[in-house]
Amino acid sequence: MYRKFYILLLTSLLIAFLPSCKKSAVSKTLIITGQDDSHNWEASSSLLKQILDETDLFSSEIIITPEKGGDMQTFTPDFSKYDLIVMNYCGEEWTDETNAGFEEYVRNGGGVVIFHSASIAFPDWKEYNEMTGLGGWNERNEKDGPYVYYTRNELVVDTTSGIAGSHGEQHEFEIRTRISDHPVTKDIPVRWMHGSDELYQQLRGPAKNMQVLATAFADTAFGGTGRHEPVLIAVNYYKGRIFHTTLGHAGDKNSPAMHCAGFIVTLQRGAEWAVTGNVTQKVPADFPTAASAVLRTDLKEMTLTEAFENIGSYDTEKSTKYFTFLRDQIRKAEGDEKILVKLEKKMVDVLKDPDATNEAKKLILRELSWMGSDYCMPVIKSLESDPELVDDVEFALNRLQK
């Protein structure tokens, strides 16, 4: 009887876990690039690959189109082999056959990411423009569709005639999430600062089946339109999903735009959504806020191990990020005893470490004062005799003993 029940339970658990297993399967990804004099496409493609593959959700390869004036007949990727195509290309037209293959891929549900200057590509390819929703330059104008932007809080579809596509000088700017219940933008701050970038403006296009997920104010002080211009766009095209980010200009070096944690995370989330229609990735602790932009030198999300390797040598003036990461982990535990105890043990290790800075210990004591258990008490008490820490020890004990 019981055995039967357990088998049933196991089977149902297996079934319950199946869909999530499927979701976490690695998506084969093709990054298409080449032929772009205005952008460092070699660098940006390599960064795109690292950013996507780092999630373990994607396995990317880069394909470079023939050079300018080269033989496009030789460019015949088999799109159907991939789950995601990332467009980092704004060069010469492909052949009709290649275009048809791409259209078929998207129509059948293939995922696409349109990255930065890819919205400039293919002004005359109608289906491509339907996928991007909005585009610019290359003699686009009112014939290609309306301008789409936000005034303060209203979405505007503006059919007045005029050029399509421009940008002011590069600068840090604030991004405003406009749709917060979309899988890509769920749990992302409403306002966040983006690392210095080109802000595309005056884009126009068919804008069909399109959602403007986020905008950025194009400040006239930097040559902007004074409008809130779309920067993150989601488009549905038949069964396919397209995530379009106008962000990420890659210059000669550094590319703060592509190292911005906000750019990285929205790209990773947008790519996952394009493939599956869902986003399983959590918004990381270092997602920028309205307070300031956050750049990731190595593109990677911090790990708990990395945080604790560095918290002991904590120096407020250098960076607060290891500690804010720890606080984020505590919040994300949502009161889960096991996770909190695991964190507490690591925190106590820092308190025990004779090489750890007092600054680090003070901050750890402050957190333990409310989330600590009996486990941390002896170590906290052992610090009582340290004149540098006595106030902080008292603070912690005062709370813990009540």
Partner: protein, 437 residues
């Protein structure tokens, strides 16, 4: 001196009357009649100010502008530059050079013989100084939020009640006609039965990273500024930017809960209770010394089923202000004389004689003066202020723990969550001790 003493006695006795002590009408002296009118100097309420930064000075000027209703005689601040400006302002108003200055509130409270005090300090100082002023039987005009923690709030409420003083919270929106009108329409059911309230408070702004440790400027007593808060080196955050650091404040959320949550509670009849369930999320800056949430969004459920969502304005349809939703429509109110409704006809409704008429005040500072003179409750008494900030503070706890918090608004305790319960309190650094109640 004798005259002053007798007036003080009058004021005290009147305060007792407010608490239900019987008092003969004929002992009300002429000085209490014609409230708000110009008065002889000897009849003015004698006041002092603790905290004379931007908000303290704004309040002082509002008091001074009241047709000689009050006379400031002493000021106290930990920054001598603030003190100089405050003394100059007082002396100009009094046409003399007599305003006394103090750098330590204890000496101020010990030496001065006042009727009332206006207090505007960083939140971490409210627990000690509000209770000590109340224990000195001074009537208090105190800035919101009235406390940094729930424990401090409980002590302050108890001290105000025990000493039977007149208390006015600096939540001056209550004294603006359109806020009162909105709340009065709501409490009389003009939006129907209220089921849901949205409260929009400001977004957090740009950070300042981590400024370097600096030499404390000679005019500032940094140790006294910190008081019961943890000892940290000076990084230039004493005069505005303290608002973005958890040791001293909960950020825009706790700064503004005392305004728009207060108005929400006033209209919905929640002034004397609190939510029973609180859950939500905050967004915190990953880098820099600012550690308050720059975005916040949490839901409070009350025992009567009303839900109140408190969030930074950019996350809400109506943005800043209070919006009450009932089964007949919604009413929204905000600063800038904003009062709108789902149907404009709601706003034309007349409130009948038999219906609820909310306390009416046309000037927040005059109302305090009038209340001190008459011994009757002011428009923004202590408990509603405590209940308003409790919403913000419980939201802070829900966001800090990442958990749904269950709160008993009668016992004023968090239910079955020892970790979250510890956050009801921020221990004080020696030599300061937390006020008891």
């Amino acid at each position: 001196m004798a005259k002053k003493t007798s007036r003080r006695v009058f004021i005290r006795r009147s305060a007792a009357a407010a608490a239900g002590v019987f008092i003969l009408p004929e002992i009300i002296p002429a000085s209490a009649i014609g409230m708000g009118g110009k008065r002889a100097p000897g009849e003015r309420i004698v006041m002092g100010a603790i905290g004379t930064g931007s908000q303290g000075m704004a309040n002082m000027r509002d008091f001074i502008s009241l047709n000689e209703a009050v006379q400031f005689v002493a000021v106290c601040d930990v920054d001598t530059r603030h003190l100089e400006v405050a003394k100059r302002t007082v002396d100009t108003a009094n046409k003399n050079n007599d305003c006394r200055t103090y750098g330590d509130f204890r000496e101020f409270l010990e030496k001065e013989n006042l009727d009332a005090v206006s207090i505007a300090l960083p939140d971490h100082w409210h627990g000690i100084i509000y209770t000590e002023a109340a224990n000195k039987k001074l009537h208090v005009y105190g800035e919101k939020p009235i406390c940094r923690t729930i424990k401090d709030g409980q002590a302050i409420v108890a001290a105000v009640k025990k000493n039977n003083i007149i208390w006015q919270t600096g939540s001056w929106q209550r004294s603006q006609a359109h806020f009162r009108r909105g709340a009065e329409l709501v409490i009389n059911g003009r939006a129907g039965k209220i089921t849901y309230i949205e409260v929009g408070l400001p977004d957090g702004g740009r950070g300042i990273g981590t400024p370097p440790v600096m030499e404390v400027p000679p005019e500032l007593n940094w140790e006294m500024w910190l008081g019961p808060a943890p000892k940290v080196p000076y990084r230039g955050v004493s005069h505005w930017d303290w608002r973005w650091i958890l040791d001293y404040s909960g950020g825009q959320l706790t700064d503004w809960a005392g305004h728009h949550v207060d108005i929400a509670n006033w209209g919905a009849g929640l002034e004397h209770t609190g939510p029973v369930e609180i859950s939500g999320k905050g967004v915190y800056p990953p880098e820099g010394i600012y550690d308050v949430p720059v975005e916040y969004d949490f839901m409070c459920r009350y025992a009567n089923g009303i839900e109140m969502r408190v969030a930074n304005a950019s996350s809400l349809k109506h943005g800043m202000g209070t919006t009450w939703y009932g089964d007949k429509g919604w009413i929204h109110t905000d600063r800038g004389n904003i009062l709108t409704a789902s149907d404009p006809k709601i706003l034309e409704e007349v409130i009948g004689e038999e219906e609820i008429h909310l306390y009416k005040s046309e000037n927040h500072w005059q109302n305090f003066v009038d209340s001190v003179r008459s011994g009757t409750q002011a428009i923004a008494p202590i408990e509603p202020a405590y209940r308003a900030i409790s919403v913000g503070l419980l939201g802070e706890i829900a966001m800090t723990t990442g958990q749904t918090i269950y709160w008993d608004p009668e016992k004023e305790e968090i239910i079955d969550n020892p970790r979250a319960s510890r956050l009801l309190n921020r221990p004080y650094r020696k030599p300061w001790t937390q006020p008891n109640f």
